[in-house]
Amino acid sequence: MSQLTNAPPLPEPTASGAVVKVPRFAGTFREERFFLVLAVFIGIFSGLAVVCFRLFIEWTGMGLLGPAPEAHNLRVLLVPALIGLLVSALVIHVFPQVRGSGVNQTKSALYIFNGYIPFRTAIGKFITAALAIGGGHSLGPEDPSLQIGAGLASALGRRMNFSREKLRLFAPIGAAAGLAAAFNAPISAVLFVIEEVIGRWSVGVMGPVVLSAISSVVVIRWFLGAQPLFRIPPVTIARPTELIAYGILGIVGGFAAIVFAKAICFLRPRLRALPKWTQYVQSSLAGLCIGLIGYLGAPQVMGAGYEYMDQAMHDQFTWKVLAILAGLKIIATTLSFATGTPGGMFAPALFVGAMLGGAVGGVERIFYPHLTGTTGTYALVGMGVLFAGFLRAPLTSVFMVLEVSGNYSIIVPVILANSVAYVISRSLQPTPIFDLLTRQDGLDLPSLEEQREENILRVEDAMRPPPTPVLDSQETVGEANQSIQQSPATVFLVRLSPSGWTSLNSGLLKRLASEGKSEMTLGSALPTERLPYLHPDLPLEMALRYVYQTPLVPVVSRADFRKLEGVVSSDDVLNKYRVVPREESGMG
């Protein structure tokens, strides 16, 4: 592999397409280090932006709906509809790229627009999402925070004239910072960005993503405190059979997640297909429905609803009320989101999960009063369940629950219930919600879940036994000539001393003999050029880089580079690709 890493860096094309030299930073400030420093600044600025965003939402909410929205209040009925009108006008005329949650837009920026997110989009997302959430639409501030962070990072990156590869990474770095600040949860943010935005595990991006997430969380804690979002008593499981109760919650949550996702995916394209003028009133009508729900007795479904999740965890509602709230929230969020109102789905998913979890826990405790879990425990596990089932981010869902509660004792029920919900959701709806939404938008972006399904071809799948004999550099030309006499092969591998490989063909060997070099060893008679080599577990596409440079590429053991496992040629590789069905190779 040394041949790969020793290659000098090539000039790279910039985002504009022109080939320029990477800026030569003086002294210790090389691009990599500078990139890490910038990641910290991205975290700081994203944290500051998210603090302002949250204040703006609070002020909007207090100003429009009052400090504690109550049922049978005309404000509650009318404000979401009026705000819907205003937000629709802003989205159509001023900020056309701020529709929806912001996760897919960030992902599109990464994969399609070389990390480019207009600064205007970040500003627009800030204003429109704050108005919508503060005005009572059933949406959350986390996904917009993610996009705001990504937008800020993208703008900063563009001013720095980084290489295109680096420039692409600014958006996910900012996204992690924005999400970490919104949730006050750095690990979950990093995992989510990797699972959903970047769509693959990449060591290169981990450092800056983690740095930006941590610095944004430091900023948010500086201003808004370090308390966990929810407090529940420590979870003790008296008997292992109690885990069955959490398994049941996982089943119920898995089905609820499917209903939620299918409702959005059903309604969204149909509403978008309506005549364009209807987009002025769609969000307003959705707001009117939500206002009506609030007016008639369930103002809890309006806005992000974190305070009500906390109340649900502390036994403020009966299980029937919790179940009703979960159902109403699914309806309200589907309406808000499908109409393109700017705002996120994280908080609504958590709300539905908390209510559903509390309701399921309540019912279970009626039949099995000995269960030790509190309503808070079930509500918290329910949050993770919806996160895993609806957003299909299994790792994030576990860490998110731990981080928002600061309670590690809940981990076993969370892992169990989340796994159950994830499996049900995957089996009933193979494509995750974010991927469905991007496809509805006419895009096809990579996803980590799809990658997990890919059948990766490796070198060992294409390699074949080496041509015999395998020659040694200590053999003389004459000896070698003699040993290949019986072989049908024309190309042979030579093991060099102390390590390394080269190749020769029978014609070369005969020529060396005719030149009177029969007594010379192969090591001294042959040119010193060494062949690149591969290992059996490497992806097959790696072989493509070498098979056109040389007729045979040796495949050697990782434990002993002199031990030959096999060889690959260009024909071997191409034949292997020809016989693998397209869908199996992950290209379908």
Partner: protein, 382 residues
């Protein structure tokens, strides 16, 4: 939308970093101002909701109070006082687990805080968890109080002792009381409380000592007189008991318990046949009188028992052998003067003791109580 065209600002990272640092500082200053303004608004709103909650709590509406405490905490989530009040309100409405979650979170922030420890101690006491209650109450006793530390500390200590007594953990309660008594400032009401608690353990020696302390400062304190009288009575110090009880009865003529104890004390003092300062004749006279009263008690009790339904457990049958013994003793009673019958007074008192013990099912009079005490404490200096 037209894309913003941004030119590269610099190829000198130190300058960029300096610029970004300046921008971050400006951002911090601006956001700090915004957050402060927001915080003030939130605080005012939270205070308003908190005051409503307190008013509802005082009006005996703990559920509504919980709701408004929660609303207050929405706007001031880190307020220690609000959280503590919410935890207390939750505890008062029986939601002990939630209350504990809040309190433990507060305790983690301020493990030395007396109020939090006291609330956790009360919660543990409600859950009847002796070890945790002891731990948190001790933390409260030796913890930090923002105002009136001594008052809160002694309050916590008294609560702990009450809890221990309710749990029947008398040795622990006694140990706490002894420590508390040594720490008390010269305040008669606190001494009186400690004395009452010693008496309830019962540790009458220490109770009497505390009552005496009170009476040194407040000579005519009726509670101390009554308590001291009762403690002395229970210690068998009837002369002292009579002294205190007489004054207590004079101060409070309505106190039936004091009157009864006084009556019994006087009877014990006037009818004790073993007092050293009486003649042999007087002793025999007292013994006969006591014996006669015991006989009457036996007969009246047997008569009342015989009127019971036939299937009721009959004490009469149990008392019949006693009656036989009494009749036999009556015949011996004439030999009291004889020097050969030196053990007879004790035999008489043994029988009196038996009679009084076995007739406990019949309501005893003051005389019966006195006879029982005389028979039990015979020969002791009153």
């Amino acid at each position: 939308m037209r894309q913003l065209t941004l030119k590269p600002v610099t190829s000198r990272p130190p300058a960029v970093i300096a610029g970004l640092t300046l921008l971050a500082i400006l951002g911090f200053i601006g956001v700090t101002r915004l957050v402060n303004r927001f915080g003030e608004q939130q605080k005012a709103l939270a205070r308003h909701l908190y005051e409503r909650a307190v008013a509802e709590q005082q009006a005996g509406k703990p559920d509504l109070a919980v709701e408004h405490f929660r609303d207050a905490l929405v706007y001031s989530p880190d307020n220690f006082e609000y959280q503590l009040q919410l935890a207390r309100a939750l505890r008062d409405t029986g939601r002990t687990e939630e209350a504990e979650a809040y309190l433990v979170s507060l305790w983690e922030r301020a493990p030395q805080d007396g109020a939090v420890n006291l609330a956790l101690g009360r919660l543990a006491a409600r859950q009847k968890s002796l070890d945790r209650a002891l731990q948190y109450y001790h933390n409260a006793i030796y913890g930090v109080w923002s105002s009136n530390p001594d008052e809160h500390r002694f309050q916590a200590w008294f609560e702990l002792i009450d809890f221990l007594l309710r749990q029947n953990a008398r040795p622990q309660a006694q140990a706490e009381l002894i420590t508390l008594a040594a720490e008390l400032p010269p305040q008669p009401d606190l001494w009186l409380r400690v004395a009452d608690l010693f008496a309830s353990i019962p540790d009458y020696d220490r109770a009497l000592a505390e009552y005496r302390q009170v009476l040194k400062i407040q000579h005519g304190n009726p509670k101390a007189l009554a308590g001291g009288g009762e403690a002395a009575f229970n210690l068998g110090q009837f002369r002292l008991a009579e002294h205190y009880l007489q004054e207590a009865a004079a101060a409070n003529t309505q106190d039936a318990k004091v009157a009864r104890l006084l009556e019994v004390s006087r009877l014990v003092l006037t009818r004790d046949p073993f007092r050293g300062d009486i003649s042999m004749e007087e002793r025999n006279q007292r013994l006969k009188s006591i014996f006669g009263d015991a006989g009457e008690r036996l007969e009246s009790c047997m008569a009342s028992q015989s009127g019971r339904p036939p299937n009721a457990p009959s004490a009469t049958s149990a008392l019949a052998p006693l009656k036989t013994q009494w009749d036999e003793m009556k015949r011996k009673l004439g030999r009291l003067r004889s020097s050969r019958e030196a053990g007879l007074p004790d035999e008489v008192m043994d029988l009196v003791l038996k009679v009084e013990q076995q007739t406990q099912s019949c309501p005893p009079s003051a005389t019966d109580q006195a006879l029982l005490l005389l028979a039990q404490n015979r020969g002791r200096e009153p």
